[in-house]
Structures are given as C-alpha cells and as structure tokens.
C-alpha cells in the first residue's frame, strides 16, 4: 500500500520528531524554569522570543534558519568548521521541528512548574538537598505531567511541521523529506490527492498512537503524583 519512499518519509519523520523532542526538552525545561521562577530584566522579552516561532509564518522561520544555519550563514559557517552541519540534512529538519515546537513545550512545562507548591521544595532544602538535587528529586517528578504534555505537543508539532522544514532543508527524499513534505508535494501534483490522503492517514495514525500512549503515560504519572 505504501511505497518504499513513503516508508522512508515516515521513518524520517519519526526520527526527526523524536530527536527534536528529546534534544529540545532540556533547554525547554531550563527556559521554562527561568520564566516561571526568576524575575529578571528582559523576562518579558525572553518569553516573547520563545513565542516567536509560533507567530512567524513557518516559511519565515525556515528562511531565517536558512540564513543563520545555512552553509553561508553566521552560525552555520562556524558550526561547519566543527563538523556540525544542519543545512539540507535530517538534523536540520530536527532543528526546524524543535524550534517550531519549542514554544509549546516551554509553555506546558512552565504551567506545571508554576503549579508546584514551593513549600515542598523548601521542605527538601531543609532536608539537606541543594538546589540541583531539589530540582531533580522534587521539582522534576512533580512537573512530569507538564513535561509529558510538552513532549506530546512537541512531537505532534514535529510530525506535522513542514513550512519551516521545507524552506530550511528542502524536500530531498530519504534525506530531508518528512511525511508532511511528501504530503505537500503530492498536493502540488495533478492527481496527487489520493497519495496525499494515504500519507495523511498514515501521519494521523502515528500521531493518534503517540497521543494515546501519552494519555496512558499521563494517567500513570498522575497516579504517582497523587492527583488521580
């Protein structure tokens, strides 16, 4: 029913989405923590910056990524010397997906962080746990629902992301052609609707699976945190 190229697009989408989510979780947690817990000059600005990928048309985001991380871009040229290349690689697709999903992850995690009772962290500190230990052993488990929600949103977004990706890393089968890019290309083709529909159903099935798994996980987490 599916051609090898389509399976390849699915596999790539999954890889890109997973990598995007896993790599962006730590910075998302860090920034969510900054925004939720610290008052500093530029707080609003940072928050706005994080939201940018949501506001900009994806094509613009992709274009900016291309200008920045392209082989001739400021950062891209520098990174290239270290052997890190994003442009026209699947890593670039992951970068684009990560950036597009970033605001969603940060928001979800931040909301959870803001709901954590600071008195529990205080209790941990009186038991001798330092800031990092308290964060790792108290805060982090307590915000697990938020992290999970953020990861699901990020994953779903990554599975559907295409505007920024196709603009940044093009649509090279087997290299950067994710499921949405493939769908897009089919939609451009006379008579391609059927193929587009097939691939869309595939994407939907995967996303549905991810959401269902996450719901199940969330219930387990909630039971642990004692909210269910």
């Amino acid at each position: 029913m599916f051609e090898p190229a389509e399976w390849a697009a699915l596999a790539l989408s999954l890889r890109v989405s997973l990598v995007a989510v896993l790599c962006s979780l730590p910075p998302a947690i860090a920034i969510a923590w900054l925004l939720a817990r610290c008052r500093f000059w530029g707080h609003g600005l940072l928050s706005a910056l994080v939201h940018l990928p949501l506001v900009l048309p994806p094509v613009v985001t992709g274009y900016l990524l291309l200008l920045t991380f392209g082989r001739n871009g400021a950062v891209g040229a520098f990174l290239a010397e270290w052997g890190v290349v994003f442009a026209f690689r699947w890593t670039g697709a992951a970068l684009a997906a990560a950036i597009m999903g970033f605001p969603l992850m940060v928001r979800a995690i931040r909301l959870s962080l803001e709901a954590v009772d600071p008195r529990l962290e205080a209790a941990a500190s009186t038991l001798g746990a330092g800031r990092i230990a308290t964060f790792a052993r108290v805060t982090l488990p307590l915000i697990a629902p938020g992290i999970l929600a953020g990861a699901v949103l990020g994953f779903a977004k990554a599975m559907g992301e295409f505007g920024a990706t196709i603009t940044f890393v093009a649509n090279i089968p087997g290299q950067t052609q994710t499921l949405p890019s493939a769908i897009y290309a089919f939609l451009q083709t006379p008579g391609g609707e059927d193929s587009a529909l097939r691939l869309t159903l595939l994407a939907v099935a995967v996303a549905l699976g991810a959401v269902v798994v996450s719901e199940w996980l969330a219930r387990r987490v909630a039971r642990r945190v004692g909210q269910a």
């Binding site: 392209g70 196709i166 093009a170 006379p190």
Partner: protein, 226 residues
C-alpha cells in the same frame, strides 16, 4: 556516479518522476516552491540540477552567480486556462460582463498574483485581455495554483485560472477557455545543471522520450503553442 539530486518545481511532480524513472541513473528529486529552492541553492543546497517554474528566479540565480546564463535552458512550457466546475455550461463570450455574470457574486480563483507564478501569469493575461480591472475585486488568490483548482472543483468558486496541466488531471473541472499564445507572457520551466553530476540527467530531460512523457502530462515545448 552516486545519486543525483534534483530541485524541481512542485508542479512537475508526477511528470518528472516518470521521466527520471526512465533514466538509468539514480536520482532524488526535492520538490518545492521556486523561490524557496532558489534561496536554498544560494545557501549551498546540494542540488545537481534545478528546474524552476518561473524565469524570474532563474534570472536571480544567474545574477547571484550560481548559474551561468549559458547553461540555462527553457525545458518546458505551459498554458493558462479558464476553468469552471465540471457541470458548468460553455461561456458565451470572454468579456467582463460575461465573466462577472458567470461569477454571479462568486469569486475567480487563481494563484496569488504577486508571488505564485500561475497568479503572476494569470494577472498578466487578464490585464492584456482588458479584464483585470473588472475582475480584480472578485479574486480569490491562493497560495498555490492547486488550491485554486480545488476551489473550482468543489464549486466554491465558479471560475478559476489554472495551468492546463492541472486542469487536464482534475475531473472536477472543465476547461472553458484557453488563454491565447502571447509572446509577452511565456510560461516557462527553465532548467540548469549546477554540477557536472547533474549534466547527464539534464541531457536526459531534453531527449524526445522525455518530451513525450511531459507532453502526455499536458506540458508544451517551450515557446511553442501546443
């Protein structure tokens, strides 16, 4: 040796896939918008061969020094048609009154008239035909020409201006009028090899077998009225 990477305008998918399948070498085709691809090439995209749907962007690549003018070939041509839903009757005349009458408060779907090639061409044609001023307030401009086609096929719009290639493949529409050939508005698909690796496939695209396949999908030879 190795795989040849082609950057090609999205509207060529299908036809180009078939042509490349007939080529003995191995190729990966990245379909996209002409502007995006041109910019990507400027940023070092690993393309060996490029086929755009728009001469302006190829000129831009030349002016950026990424492609030599000499290597550019207009590979294909296309034509604009005025379409209506499959069940719509013939148009009596092509003038503002007749078109507005057919629209009957509805809209004329076409590509975005500043950015999307089909829209740019369509606008030029309507201007030449003296219809632009009457129709401009009644447009529904779309992000790409396929959406304009879909709008007509779904009877959301009574009329649309699309490529002949698209109209042929869509049973939901019927062609009401074909835009006359106009040397000032040539719809061309310029192609150029970017690397030596791309030259072989580039040559294949210009073979008669390739031309036959393109023709079967409704494309015209460049500069020639079909």
């Amino acid at each position: 040796g190795g795989r040849v990477t082609v950057f090609a305008a999205a509207s060529l998918q299908g036809a180009l896939d078939e042509v490349v399948a007939a080529w003995p070498g191995e190729a990966a085709i990245s379909y996209g918008g002409s502007g995006a691809m041109a910019r990507q090439i400027a940023q070092g995209a690993p393309a060996d061969l490029v086929v755009l749907a728009n001469v302006d962007w190829m000129d831009w690549l030349v002016s950026e020094g990424l492609v030599t003018q000499a290597s550019v070939v207009n590979l294909l041509g296309n034509r604009l048609v005025l379409v209506g839903p499959a069940d719509s009757p013939d148009l009596q005349a092509i003038d503002a009154a007749a078109l507005l009458g057919r629209l009957d408060g509805g809209r004329l779907a076409m590509g975005e008239t500043r950015g999307v090639p089909a829209g740019i061409y369509g606008r030029a044609w309507l201007e030449d035909a003296g219809l632009w001023d009457a129709l401009a307030p009644r447009l529904a401009e779309t992000e790409n020409v396929r959406v304009a086609l879909a709008l007509v096929a779904r009877s959301e719009a009574p009329l649309g201006v699309v490529y002949a290639t698209d109209a042929l493949a869509e049973p939901g529409v019927r062609i009401l009028y074909e835009a006359p050939e106009d040397p000032a508005i040539q719809i061309l698909y310029p192609a150029a090899p970017l690397t030596t690796a791309g030259k072989e496939l580039f040559a294949h695209l210009r073979t008669p077998e390739a031309a036959a396949i393109f023709a079967r999908h409704g494309f015209a030879p460049p500069g020639a009225a079909p």
